[in-house]
Amino acid sequence: MARRPVNPPATGWSLTIPPKIWDRLSDHVLGSAARGAVLLAGLADGPRGPRLLARELILADEGRDYIPGEFGHRALAPTFVRDAVIRARDEGLAYIAAHAHLGLDHVGFSEIDLASHERGYPSLSQISGQVVGALVITDHAAAGDLWLPDGRREELAETIIPTGNLLRLRSQPAEEGRPDSLHDRQARLLGDLGQETLRRLRVAVVGLGGVGSILVEELARLGVGELVLIDDETVEETNLPRLVASGREDIGRLKTEVAARNARRANPDVRLIEIARRVERPESLEELVRCDWIFLAADGDAARHWVNGTVQQYLVPATQVGVKVPLTPQGDVGQIHTATRLVLPGSGCLWCSRLIDPTRLAVDMHPAGERDAAQYVPGVPAPSVITLNTLAAGEAVNHFVFAVVGLHDEENDHASVIHRPRTRQRDLQEPRQDPTCRWCTSTGRLGLGRKGSTPF
């Protein structure tokens, strides 16, 4: 298969489709028989414009729901459209009808398509009171025609599928990127458009300790355009051996300040949002839900829960990065491992993988003054070593870079990486999904966006 074009993030309306929904949609409409479908989508504010968040796919059965058209070759049956648009109205979701055209890197609506939109969408918009519109796709391109409740009409700037390679489909490939002499050596691998992609991204790092400080250093030097830095802690003496570019004079300073100083040193052009708060605070979540990618480098169950919620409800992909050093009270060292877990919307989540404990989450949500006492067994500091943190952080950022510029060999490779340095093993771990999960399924909060409110 030809490699998809690298399209830097575009400004304007976007549609994000979770990988599993995209696979079903593309199998259905791009298969040998031309067929139609409807996406129901939540709505959210994004870093470059409003975002539609595909939550559910309704497939049109050939012959019953997708029938010979009065004006064109095929059309969605009126009863199918009626049922779907009423569901959109009742659930407060956008209605997006999808079909496919032949072609590869370019796609657009035909005159017959546009005429049918003009005949039907004003009344569908009136019935639902929500955004209604159409999506037309090929393997490598997508175009959208949106009708807003206030009567405006917008083109979809891009369709995003956060799969192994994060796909950004446009109606036609982006024009060649401008050369960036500073990043010339890495752009030889990533391409000028890949470098431009990094420059336009808004990426969050949650937790700015041993792992997070390395992530910030690498993301800034790679040329990521905007970083959201979230951590409420201050630097302690015992942090210094692992905190990149820190010194004794930083003891007592906020970790956000130290990370921001380091990011600016690495890339004077980087835009920074510093939030010296815990991640569950509304001001943190408001920034988090408007990111393109999240790195979760904080240990607590609360951070895991709220980042997981953001991934699923707002369809923002994340990488959880951690290091585990099991140590008995007698000093026996167990199987050390680093974990780089890809958390994609709708493909299993941290709850499904049992990586969040409801009781530890309850304790973690107590105010700082009560948290230690609320633990029945008092916690002790876990071992932490910079070389192990580097291993995990490097893996995580490398996966991210390859994903956003389309360099992974396998688009459907969603596996996490578990590295065991004591035995020098490196294993891949596939995500698990509980079909009744209240976060990562269409019966849960998947793609609800701001309809599901923030905090969740």
Partner: protein, 128 residues
């Protein structure tokens, strides 16, 4: 200040229904959750006093988060014995309290409500 979510509001109403007739104080925790204190809860003749308050936090992560731990006012055992495991003296919300640490294993967020757990804790304490 963040308003409690509908799930938390519903949980509080269920607590009021579970402990109908008891005063129930609800105070925002500042992060989208609430502190709940149910007054005059009967815990039986094994304790002095035999009636106390029962407090807990329903955090913003509810119903995914467990309700843990629970707190009651300072109690002594009628038989003069020590409190058993999972009970310890602490300060909670600026007042002396006993902390009761009973986690819910295999918790189902759709079933294990704050109200049912509060009643289970009251009964467990009374049975000690």
């Amino acid at each position: 200040m963040t308003s409690p979510t509908p799930a938390i509001a519903e949980a509080v109403e269920a607590v009021r229904a579970q402990f109908a007739g008891h005063p129930v104080e609800v105070v925002p925790d500042g992060s989208g959750g609430v502190y709940v204190v149910v007054e005059q809860v009967e815990i039986g003749a094994a304790y002095v006093p035999s009636m106390t308050w029962l407090g807990f936090q329903i955090s913003a992560a509810y119903p995914d988060a467990d309700i843990y731990p629970h707190y009651v006012g300072p109690l002594t055992r009628t038989d003069g014995g020590a409190h058993g495991q999972a009970i310890q003296s602490v300060t909670w919300q600026d007042k002396p309290a006993l902390q009761i640490s009973r986690r819910s294993n295999r918790r189902d967020p759709n079933i294990d409500s704050a109200a049912l757990k509060a009643e289970r804790i009251r009964k467990w304490l009374a049975d000690q």
